[in-house]
């Protein structure tokens, strides 16, 4: 069952309190981030319904928002999601080669997840790191000035971290 811990529920209330009384729907985006982080990296229908109940809004109000913003995953994703920017300035600096290299190395196309559930490759539109291109988002942080060697290192890091967690 989808349910925040006591700690997280306190955080939920703190977030709701940032907005005017009766306008608790404003907390939807932050709450969806929190839910995605806590419930497996994606938003299932059950998770979205739960968020709706916390904010006392209709589930459809959550679905329409979750499907609008690119950062919410409405399908399961791998443990590590590589979101590689492909827009203008990154493209000028070879982002296509980086995407192709990751694709080849992991054996997946953009939008796919490896069979072991470890990696998802996604293309992204401008992430605001144009001066440090090519780049990708990995979790909360950016990995910039990507090269094939750097990609290898990142993949190895992820594998090591995943092995350590098991």
């Amino acid at each position: 069952m989808v349910q925040f811990s006591e700690d997280k529920l306190a955080k939920v209330n703190e977030i709701i309190a940032r907005y005017p009384e009766g306008k608790q729907k404003s907390a939807l985006l932050p709450l969806l981030h929190l839910a995605q982080e806590n419930f497996g990296g994606w938003l299932s229908a059950e998770t979205m319904d739960y968020v709706a109940s916390l904010l006392q809004i209709e589930p459809i109000e959550v679905y329409e928002v979750a499907t609008f913003y690119s950062m919410y995953n409405t399908n399961p994703v791998g443990k590590y999601v590589f979101e590689v920017c492909q827009t203008g300035p990154c493209m000028l600096n070879g982002s296509d080669n980086i995407i192709a290299y990751i694709s080849q190395t992991l054996g997946i196309k953009p939008g796919e997840t490896t069979a072991d559930g470890l990696f998802t490759l996604k293309t992204a539109e401008c992430l605001g790191a144009c001066g440090y291109a090519p780049m990708m988002q990995l979790g909360k942080h950016y990995r910039e000035h990507l090269t094939k060697e750097k990609v290898d290192t990142i993949i190895a890091e992820c594998r090591t971290a995943a092995a350590a967690n098991n």
């Binding site: 928002v65 913003y69 605001g128 001066g131």
Partner: protein, 450 residues
Amino acid sequence: MGRKLLLEKAHVEGIRYFDVYRREGGYRSVEKALKTMTQDEIVEEVKKSGLRGRGGAGFPAGMKWGFIAKPEGVPRHLVCNADESEPGTFKDRYLMEFIPHLLIEGLIVASYALGSHDTYIYIRGEYAWIPDILEQAIAEAKANGFLGKNILGTGFDCEIYVHRGAGAYICGEETALIESLEGKRGNPRIKPPFPAIKGAWGRPTVVNNVETLAAVVPIINEGGEEFAKIGVGKSTGTKLISACGNINKPGVYEIDMTISVEEFIYSDEYCGGIPNGKRLKACIPGGSSVPILPANLLLKTAKGETRYMNYESLSDGGFATGSMMGSGGFIVLDEDQCVVRNTYSLARFYRHESCGQCSPCREGTGWMEKVLLRLEKGEGKISDIDLLWDIQSKIEGNTICPLGDAASWPVAAAIRHFRDEFEWHVTHAAEAQTRNYGLAHYADAIHVPV
């Protein structure tokens, strides 16, 4: 070496923390504004400064503040637009990461001037590590009496909250941003009513860019007239430029708007020239939405005069031969870049980011992307170039928000200035798959590598 108003202290060690920032002269503007100035005096000072909105539109900030409605008993809000998403633009990120207290300081002064007791920073969701930096700065400011109840004993109360977006370029448009702040899809609203009358939760709201709010600090410290003395004409103060693409030194630069484009690209103080001895082909000087210019029109105007890095000079010649300052996202293309491919990449971006509300933009952006892709792949026809021109002309001006224009302008400018390259992709379809068109009549005549 130009004067720096915003980033002068950005690299002082520990400047991210309150104590260091304060020791370096931080938060003086809050003391001055709250203790010695009225709200109207602050607005007047910002008007005198000539500060123009740094998000891209360049609308005079003081005038925007002057529009805010003050109905009795209705709370007003200031919202900081940190949804920096225009391709080529990463200046606000830099400012928030390195010198977050400058933004918080500007926000406190602006909140006081506008009467906002609950102020929000709407930051793009992908900048996921920056809210922690901002929230720490807010907590420090509060612990030191610069935020919270009865700030510095003046009776003014103010809280600042960070609100994270979740990946949508459109939320940089102020009414879409407000919708998103209210927990909805980022669909822009029809104006009027303008946010200054009816904004967040139906209340009077001012939305300002990060850099605009940071610039309030030197304006209050030194006075609007002093600020207006820096720069030239209606381009007052300094401007943050994020430079990227094919240059030796990509990064964020604070410029005084009197330097020439040539100096900005080639001097070691700024971009440091083009790597590997390549020649300059083209540049998008103000973020992906503004018209791309070939080198010859970038460095000099159509009249043959030197082009400068300011609002007026960059737009000299209108869209026929000029461009715009925009958000300051400066994207340089060297001789090896393909304009068709670059235009396709940007068209894909706008298709991805269209909110889908207005049919000209929803349908048109996808259509332009498809046509550009077939031209890029050597599968296009000459008539496709006219088709593209036709589509973009029917999007521009026919949508609720400026995203439609933003999607049209790059396509229009690429065809306007590089039509020969588009045609070559059709007439030399096979060759276009193996090499790029290179330079033509628009080559930079000034800098020929030896």
